[in-house]
């Protein structure tokens, strides 16, 4: 499917990556800001010719400096959803989606009818006539997705598709995006700096740091054996599996039930929980957090100015708290504690 060996220098950064994305696969290129993620994506789209290497899609060589082969961006069967979407501000949502079809010479009426079908499919029938400025972040993202998919690409590239959204809408749009991505059967490559986006959306992670790939594998592999400091931070994301036990209730394998903020996406769900979101207490907390459980500290590990506390009990998870809190709670291995987490800090997605 996509096979890309990319060598390119941008400013001080020298990008050298070897990427493969199979048909039907969602790969997340995950890395800190400035790692070269967007540059890699631009190279694949043909917006930045590579200095050396070879990019091949479906057996077609798109960029190969050694043989002076370069297929122009407009001739590559690649759809791109850009960061902040880049919808043409003077065109309606419908005409944005029809743009790519018009570019391929489809008659106007035909292109618009096809674009309308794409908007319908993505639940955007109501906003067909709206200008991008009046769309919400989630709507704009779906219009951008429809625009990219309407040209029937073999590869879909998404550059930080959720970065432009505020935290509130992000949760829901992420779940929606996952559903829509599942309907596309080509290869999908997602660029993100947010581990939760990567874990929710991707089948496989490729971790990029400072222009080099430091690790690649399915999420469980990467989180189980992080190869770098950056990847180690991803380990911190607690992944819990459970089944629906109510509209907003998940029952974990241990029998413990957790309440989440939004309706569950399906009968079997996974929950991403950031270690920073877990609060630890000496006594059973009362008040707002609806999710609390008794746990036992199994390990305390200092990491610079934070302390990672591994908890055994009904919710196996790692919490990250300040050294001051550790001292105050007098935490050592074996200490019984109460842990709590707010419903809004539990990100659920379909398993």
């Amino acid at each position: 499917m996509l096979s890309a060996v990319i060598e390119v220098a941008v400013g001080n950064l020298r990008l050298e990556v070897d990427l493969e994305v199979d048909e039907g696969e969602v790969v997340a290129l995950l890395g800190p800001n400035g790692a070269g993620k967007t540059t890699a994506l631009r190279a694949i789209a043909g917006l930045r010719p590579i200095d050396d290497g070879r990019i091949e899609l479906d057996g077609c060589v798109l960029d190969h400096p050694a043989t002076a082969t370069f297929v122009a961006t407009s001739r590559r069967p690649i759809g791109v959803v850009f960061q902040d979407y880049l919808l043409f501000p003077r065109l309606s949502a419908l005409d944005n989606v029809a743009f790519g079809l018009r570019a391929r010479g489809r008659p106007r009426a035909d292109a618009r009818a096809e674009a309308q079908r794409w908007l319908d499919r993505l639940g955007l029938a109501d906003v067909a006539g709206a200008r991008p400025r009046s769309l919400s972040g989630g709507q704009a993202q779906r219009v951008a997705l429809a625009r990219a998919l309407a040209t029937d690409p073999r590869l879909l590239l998404l550059d930080e598709p959720l970065a432009a959204l505020d935290a509130g809408t992000r949760l829901w749009v992420r779940t929606e995006l996952r559903r829509h991505l599942a309907t596309f059967d080509g290869a999908r490559l997602l660029v993100t700096h947010d581990p939760v986006d990567a874990l929710v959306l991707a089948d496989r992670l490729v971790i990029l740091e400072d222009g080099r790939i430091t690790q690649t594998g399915v999420p469980a592999e990467v989180t189980a054996r992080p190869a770098s400091r950056y990847a180690a931070q991803l380990v911190g994301i607690n992944l819990l599996h459970g089944v629906a036990a109510g509209e907003r209730t998940v029952r974990l394998g241990t029998g413990t039930e957790l309440t989440v903020a939004d309706p569950l996406p399906g009968p079997e769900v996974a929950i991403a929980l950031r270690p920073q979101a877990i609060a630890l207490h000496r006594h059973r907390p009362d008040g707002s957090p609806r999710n609390s459980w008794a746990a036992t500290v199994s390990e305390v590990e200092a990491d610079r100015d934070r302390v990672r506390v591994t908890l055994a009990g009904p919710v196996p998870a790692t919490a990250e708290i300040t050294p001051a809190a550790v001292a105050e709670l007098d935490l050592v291995a074996g200490t019984p504690v109460w842990a709590s987490v707010k419903a809004v800090d539990l990100t659920t997605y379909q398993r």
């Binding site: 407009s74 001739r75 590559r76 791109v80 880049l86 043409f88 743009f99 990219a148």
Partner: protein, 270 residues
């Protein structure tokens, strides 16, 4: 003291430092007084008759036609030039930009003289063309358009180039990923995004062409009905017929305002 929370504070304009106010007032007066003087001398009673004189109508028609023609020609070649300067890198780009802005700072008479040496009867290009076809650019309507374009086009190029530089080129990338050809990207994405600067540039170009005097009189002469534009007619009439000069001036002011006022929101900011 009552708490100030919730009180509506009146938006207060800044207080001018010492001397700033009077100097600003002086600037306004300096621009306003000549207009007042002109209006005060206007022959209001027989103004209608004055503006219907052939010398006025001929000059007005010629000025409008040549100013629009020069603007049209400037748009045709100036937008592509602005694009090349804004979006490509080539050796000599800075020199090209310096060259294209030269007519903005050059005395127009010098421009007219240069045009004469290039396109005149004995000119570098004009000579061979005249020998071969008999066509002569100077002292014709085309000569007026040529002089106007030479002087006014740089205003368009500079404005549009700035507009293209300020525009987000990533929209062009997005269009390319959707399969748009270079031509489609230019017409459907680049030009619409640069539209405000193109309009502003065209207005500046047109206004400069309408007021052109030095290069026109040098290169195209001063023949009524053929090359005598409004500014030339005003200058000539001042010597012979003051009332006609004032009438011509009023017409020029009216025409300028008629073009500028509808565009002031886009061009002047507020």
């Amino acid at each position: 003291m009552k708490p100030r929370v919730g009180q509506r504070r009146r938006p207060r304009s800044a207080r001018a430092p010492w001397l700033i106010g009077p100097l600003a007032a002086l600037a306004v007066a300096y621009i306003a007084v000549p207009f007042v003087a002109l209006l005060q001398r206007a022959p209001w009673t027989n103004l209608g008759e004055a503006v219907r004189q052939p010398v006025v109508t001929d000059a007005l028609r010629l000025s409008l036609v040549t100013a629009f023609a020069a603007t049209g020609f400037s748009l045709l070649v100036g937008i592509p030039l602005a694009w090349v300067l804004a979006r490509t890198r080539f050796p000599g780009r800075s020199a090209t930009r310096a060259l294209i802005t030269l007519p903005m700072v050059l005395p127009p008479v010098v421009g007219g003289a240069a045009l004469l040496f290039a396109f005149g009867r004995q000119g570098m290009l004009g000579g061979p063309v005249a020998t071969a076809t008999g066509f002569l650019l100077p002292f014709s309507v085309w000569g007026v358009v040529a002089a106007n374009t030479f002087v006014a086009m740089p205003f368009l190029v500079v404005t549009v180039e700035a507009g293209l530089r300020a525009a987000d080129a990533r929209y062009e990338d997005a269009a390319a990923t959707l399969g748009a050809s270079r031509g489609m990207i230019f017409w459907r994405v680049t030009v619409p995004h640069a539209a405000p600067s193109i309009i502003a540039g065209a207005v500046l170009c047109w206004a400069r062409a309408l007021g052109e005097f030095g290069a026109t009189v040098t290169f195209a002469g001063n023949l009524q009905g053929r090359t005598q534009t409004m500014p030339l007619a005003v200058f000539l009439a001042l010597e012979t017929d003051r009332e006609a000069a004032i009438a011509l001036s009023l017409v020029l002011i009216a025409v300028s305002l008629a073009v500028l006022l509808p565009l002031r929101d886009r061009w002047l900011g507020t």
